[in-house]
């Protein structure tokens, strides 16, 4: 299985340079380096620094994707410079030149170095990132269920590189948003059975206008994370626990929106948009529209409704009366709601913990040739 050795090649780099102390505007700087294609973008930057310009600013340490120091943007996507192969980077470059910029959403200190303290670390501190325990500390270790610890290891895998913060689209328009890295860290403690402040943590994050309900569900952080932490997924779990387990009705309409949406689907099978707005603001029932908050929002929506009706995008009947799926189907849909929601505990599949059926099969199949190991049968697997 030895890989075929590929000799060094030339790679062109286009680096974003900026020195705030110089008084000059940022500019692009191009260098050609010579390295084997499997080498990393970080090695290329370091070669450019060593051979051509000692003033290139880059932060790095471990060079093996564990310290989280060398977060940059490579060809418009956040990445660890040490974890990005040169051949792959060239393949994704627009014009064959690998473009390297500092991360986004954080001020640039110099060239590729951003101020992590000003943004990322401040936000991490915001979520009280340590265990709060009121019980007396046990003499030996804490005994906790294995599953609950496996579950939080996903967020513990975070190396604080800031890649998710760099490209967070909610933070781009609302810099005060607590953001994906810090909220993933918050889940690390909300999911930890040893922590005694779950309720206070969740209430805090739900009530903060820039907390869990400020996430715009764009999957950018999921894509950005080099460690598979799935920050957005953790934010959704924080929301689920806040509403379903802690019954937190927040001032940001988060709980009401969720209740209004699911309630409308239960009632009609498909969404009734005209009702979603007043119920999200005023309360998850038909009476929601009479709440002052709903009234205010409905007033603010008059221009939208005016044009919508004028252009026959909306009809008066459509606004006043919902679309519904056929009644026999609606009955089945409601039966599903009743069955699932009446379970004493939510039934969830966490693919991070369980993996994929195929994941189990593959290594076994490849081991057959080597050791003649029998193929493991997987109970209940699909035909």
């Amino acid at each position: 299985m030895a890989e075929i050795y590929k000799p060094p090649e030339e790679f062109k780099l286009r680096l974003r340079r900026y020195d705030p102390e110089s008084g000059e505007a940022p500019y692009w700087d191009e260098h050609t380096v010579e390295l084997e294609p499997h080498r990393s973008v970080l090695e290329a930057i370091l070669q450019a620094r060593d051979r051509f310009d000692g003033s290139i600013g880059i932060r790095c340490s471990c060079r093996q994707a564990i310290c989280g120091s060398c977060g940059v943007r490579v060809n418009d996507e956040p990445a660890l410079a040490c974890h990005t192969h040169l051949d792959a980077a060239r393949a994704s470059a627009r014009d064959g030149v690998i473009e390297i910029e500092p991360m986004g959403n954080m001020p640039v200190l110099k060239d590729l170095i951003v101020d992590m303290d000003a943004v990322h670390w401040k936000k991490v501190k915001r979520v009280t990132p340590w265990l709060i325990n009121k019980q007396p500390v046990p003499e030996r270790e804490y005994i906790v269920p294995r599953e609950s610890m496996v579950d939080v290891t996903q967020t513990m895998a975070c190396i604080q590189c800031g890649a998710c913060v760099s490209d967070c689209l909610a933070m781009e328009v609302d810099p005060g948003f607590i953001g994906p890295a810090a909220l993933a860290k918050a889940y690390r403690f909300v999911g930890d059975p040893r922590d005694d402040e779950h309720d206070i943590r969740l209430r805090d994050l739900a009530e903060d206008p820039q907390g869990i309900y400020d996430c715009t569900h764009c999957f950018k952080c999921v894509e950005a994370c080099p460690k598979g932490v799935n920050p957005m997924g953790q934010i959704m779990r924080l929301r689920r626990i806040a509403t379903a387990d802690h019954h937190i009705v927040d001032q940001n309409n988060g709980e009401r929106h969720e209740a209004a949406f699911t309630g409308l689907i239960r009632d009609n099978g498909i969404l009734w948009e005209a009702e979603l707005v007043p119920r999200s603001y005023g309360g998850a029932s038909w009476f929601g529209k009479f709440h002052p908050a709903a009234g205010k929002e409905l007033l603010a929506s008059i221009p939208v409704a005016f044009y919508g009706l004028l252009r026959r995008k909306m009809t008066v009947m459509g606004v006043l009366k919902p679309h519904k799926i056929p009644s026999s189907d609606l009955k089945s849909v409601r039966a599903i709601f009743d069955k699932v929601e009446s379970r004493p505990e939510r039934y969830e599949l966490n693919l991070y913990v369980t993996g994929y059926d195929e994941d189990i099969e593959e290594p076994v199949a490849s081991a057959v040739g080597a050791e003649g190991a029998p193929t493991q049968s997987i109970e209940g697997s699909a035909p």
Binding site: F261, I270, D329
Partner: protein, 300 residues
């Protein structure tokens, strides 16, 4: 080709012109639509946020109904958000046989069952992968010559790449570019084309939500696009329906028409703007209508 057709909620609600234009365009592309009118909302991520098993069961029901459509080659949707939400549920259902059996047990009352391996494609994917750009090109009656179109993908159809099957062989995050190009239009690239429209937080943080929509529209204005095109009706709500308010939030005039994908395709296939429901947009697609009656558009 025959497809089990999932139109979603919003295409039958606040963006009726999307559902209508799809119905007009389908026969021109030899697509037979068998509408899944018994199916319910995909949950748009919100039901999954509330209860994962519930979202997975409701979508498994939709998938099972799609698998019952005789002779259908696959399931097709016209809503990126449905594509994203359904792909997420399908990933879990397909990944674990035990979980699939558990969810199918919730459907047993109706005699329905989802079998692993459904193909569910947004109209955009179907256009490129099933119909093919060559066939599409041959059907063009009114090439979009000189029409500058900005693609607006939305989030749910481009991220996460693994789950959505985006790779070198299936560059699905470039398909809008390819379609605009095939229809004879000019692709206008701008900063926001794969960013979030802001719709998911419109009830929670309206200002941040419309700042997103307003910025992307402004970027497209600066890049001198005549119009945008999107495969997502929820993006359309924020970009078109809310545009007058987004203008106030970002403090600039925008007036950027936003077309649904079937409308743009229909225009190139020779349908008239009115038939495609272009008169139903909040921001009048004057540039597009003027183009269709211009020397270039009318000559075609």
């Amino acid at each position: 080709m025959k497809v089990a057709y999932w139109p979603g909620c919003v295409s039958r609600g606040f963006t009726p012109e999307l559902h209508g234009s799809m119905a007009k365009v389908a026969p021109l592309l030899d697509i037979e639509l068998v509408e899944l009118d018994r199916a319910c909302c995909s949950g748009a991520g919100v039901i999954a946020e509330h209860n994962q098993e519930l979202a997975d069961t409701l979508n498994a029901r939709t998938f099972a109904l799609a698998q019952q459509v005789q002779g259908a080659e696959l399931m097709m949707n016209i809503c990126s958000t449905c594509q994203g939400a359904q792909s997420e549920c399908q990933e879990r259902l397909d990944a674990n046989a035990e979980y699939r059996a558990h969810v199918n047990a919730n459907l047993a009352g109706e005699g329905l069952s989802y079998e692993k391996g459904l193909t569910n494609k947004n109209f955009l994917w179907l256009l490129v992968e099933e119909i093919g750009l060559d066939t599409l090109s041959a059907k063009v009656k009114r090439p979009l010559t000189n029409l500058k179109v900005g693609p607006f993908y939305g989030c749910y159809i481009v991220r996460p790449r693994d789950r959505l099957g985006i790779d070198a062989e299936h560059p699905r995050d470039h398909y809008l570019h390819q379609v605009i190009d095939t229809l004879g239009g000019t692709v206008i690239e701008y900063a926001g084309m794969r960013k979030c429209c802001g719709f998911p937080i419109i009830m929670m943080n309206k200002e941040a939500s419309l700042k997103q929509a307003g910025r992307h529209l402004g970027d497209a204005v600066d890049a001198e696009a005549d119009c945008l095109v999107t495969p997502c009706p929820l993006c359309h709500l924020n970009l078109d329906l809310q545009q007058p308010i987004a203008e106030k939030v970002v403090g600039r005039e925008l007036q950027m028409p936003v077309l649904h994908l079937p409308q743009l395709v229909g225009l190139a296939l020779g349908l008239e703007p009115r038939e495609l429901g272009l008169s139903r947009h909040v921001v009048r697609p004057t540039s597009v209508i003027d183009w269709s009656t211009s020397v270039v558009g009318a000559a075609a």
